[in-house]
């Protein structure tokens, strides 16, 4: 097996280990998430399979043992516990060490044996600890109305369906519903449809009354409370129904009939009956007076919104997974483009002196193309800072356990792009800042409680265009 292939495998294995780590850390907050369990299992399965193929036998053998345990987790025989996650994270670190240090040879046999023993014990006891459960702080009826909320991590972008019906005298309180819709729009990606069905004929219409309702489909990462905050002044003057219909990119593509039934705008029986007539469903439902054109338009708008969000999410995923170019090659490209820009400047200058129209036109075209090439090339080096944030999650978890502190990490602006070199150079100072936050900025839970602070400390990492900061 040639060294180049082994290098490619090592690179791939590192990516898989990073995915494994992310999945494990997320599992800590959502232990029942079957997708995450599957993701962790697949990462180990691939490392095992490819490892054996490229001569990393020890890696393959060790990973096989852990994969077997995760197979049982996947089948529901072993629950996800803190012990399981800690052990698997340690195992992940050992695999990384084996790959880095000695080309797959087991360099720290005692540590390996210790972990294998601990996993064996875990299998025998069927999970030893009580399963991780999600915090439940009195599930309100509103949460029940949006069951997805309980499964969604705080930073996830979620698509909500919001139906607004205002009291008809809402204007008499100086409230302008359109401003509330504008505020809602600032929370994320938004589609709105007005339900104008109750607007009466002009001769009996009272212009001081509100006859319109609105259906909004909103994809936001700010949570359901941010949506409720928009309506804080009008909560007793309007009926607001908020349903989470899926996390970004995971929303099911639904047929118009399904959306209308979910919204309780039509019954399942009506849909089945009308479907037999082989005409567009929305058209038939309106024709038969089962629902109004506005309600159908609104359901169509939701369908389009979800389609758009799914496509965007897919493009984003594909975009990230398809870039794989050695950094040195990019540096060479950037240098070449730099030289090209200099030559192009000389060409433009010469062309301006020669007074030849044709040459002038060519120089202008070269200038435009060079500018685009330069911008695009520099853009290739831009990567989202989210991966770096992900690494800190592990650091914070390990340090807080070591020091007996309870710390939650929140992030914002993971999609902010920075030059690859800048991101690499930010790593060490950020590690230093985070360590300082944990060491000196956040007290142990007992001390925090005695000071009237919440038991958990929070480290918030936020990236915005122009600045990056960390605070404890």
């Amino acid at each position: 097996m040639n060294d180049n292939h082994r290098e490619v495998f090592k690179e791939e294995a590192h990516e898989l280990l990073a995915e494994l780590e992310t999945a494990l850390l997320e599992l800590e907050t959502t232990p029942d998430d079957k997708d995450l369990i599957g993701k962790a299992f697949r990462a180990m399965h691939t490392i095992k399979g490819s490892g054996a193929m490229f001569g990393f036998d020890d890696v393959a053998e060790f990973t096989h043992g852990i994969e077997t345990v995760f197979d049982k987790v996947r089948d529901g025989d072993i629950p996800v516990t803190k012990t399981l996650i800690s052990l698997t994270l340690q195992a992940r670190d050992l695999i990384k060490m084996m790959l880095d240090d000695s080309g797959g040879e087991a360099s720290s046999e005692p540590a390996l044996q210790e972990i294998v023993g601990a996993f064996r014990k875990l299998v025998l006891t069927g999970g030893e600890q009580s399963p991780l459960t999600l915090p439940t702080d009195g599930c309100s009826s509103e949460q029940a109305a949006a069951p997805l909320e309980q499964e969604i991590s705080p930073n996830a972008r979620v698509t909500y369906r919001i139906r607004l019906t205002f009291l008809s005298d809402i204007f008499s309180t100086g409230t302008n519903p359109l401003l509330l819709l504008d505020e809602l729009r600032t929370l994320g990606e938004y589609s709105v449809t007005a339900d104008t069905n109750d607007i009466p004929y002009l001769d009996i219409m009272n212009p001081e009354r509100c006859y319109t309702g609105w259906d909004v489909v909103l994809t936001t990462g700010k949570g359901i409370n941010a949506i409720k905050d928009v309506f804080i002044f009008v909560e007793d003057r309007c009926e607001i129904k908020i349903d989470a219909i899926g996390t970004e990119g995971e929303e099911d593509h639904k047929k118009i009939g399904e959306i209308l039934v979910e919204r309780v705008d039509v019954s399942q029986e009506d849909v089945l009956r009308v479907l037999k007539e082989k005409k567009p469903l929305g058209e038939m439902l309106v024709e038969k007076g089962i629902t109004t054109p506005d309600k159908v338009d609104s359901a169509l708008a939701e369908q389009q919104h979800v389609k758009k969000i799914r496509e965007k999410a897919q493009t984003k995923d594909e975009g990230i997974s398809s870039i794989k170019v050695p950094a040195e090659k990019l540096d060479v490209l950037v240098n070449l483009v730099g030289e090209l820009v200099t030559v192009q400047a000389r060409l433009s200058q010469t062309a301006s002196l020669v007074h030849n129209n044709e040459l002038g036109a060519i120089a202008e075209e070269v200038e435009r193309l060079t500018r685009e090439l330069r911008d695009n090339t520099l853009n290739i080096r831009m990567v989202p800072i989210g991966t770096t944030f992900g690494r800190f999650k592990r650091l914070i978890r390990d340090l807080s356990q070591e020091l007996g502190k309870e710390i939650e990490m929140t992030t914002e602006g993971e999609e902010t792009e920075l030059d690859k070199t800048v991101i690499e150079r930010l790593n060490d100072p950020l590690v230093h800042l985070i360590r300082n936050c944990i060491d000196h900025g956040i007290e142990t839970p007992d001390v925090r409680l005695s000071l009237g602070k919440p038991r958990n400390g929070t480290i918030h990492l936020s990236a915005v265009r122009g600045q990056t900061y960390s605070s404890g």
Binding site: F171, S172, T173, G174, T175, N176, L179, D182, E183, E208, I232, F233, D236
Partner: protein, 121 residues
């Protein structure tokens, strides 16, 4: 054109702080010392919003809200009440009288401007 806000409070210091904050945020300000003063200044004032304290001599905030809602030219103007935590029942009274929203004292300038933007757009 900048929007014009009427601030109504019997405390000169509160009026001063509120006026300063609003002017800094680019609004024009009309000041009134109580409900009666506010109603007398309403006609032809061209105001876009009223920001009123609740406890005031002569005519209090609730009376002012009812007065504004009965005023032909200004009955749809948004009205924000300045309340305190302990005034929950007064807040309810204000809402029933037709207030648009409220802000709880003490508040900082950013919170005040955020509430105004929420209501005025």
């Amino acid at each position: 054109m900048s929007k014009r806000i009427m601030t109504v409070d019997d405390s000169a210091s509160v009026r001063q702080v509120v006026s300063f904050t609003l002017k800094q945020a680019g609004y024009e300000v009309v000041e009134a010392i109580d409900g009666n003063d506010a109603l007398s200044k309403l006609e032809g004032s061209g105001i876009h919003m009223v920001l009123t304290d609740l406890n005031m001599p002569n005519l209090d905030g609730i009376g002012l809200i009812k007065g504004v809602r009965a005023h032909a030219a200004h009955r749809f103007v948004p009205i924000i009440m300045l309340t305190t935590e302990s005034q929950e029942s007064r807040k309810l009274e204000g809402k029933q009288a037709g207030a648009t929203g409220w802000i709880v004292k003490p508040f900082n300038p950013e919170q005040l401007v955020a509430v105004i933007k929420k209501v005025l757009g």
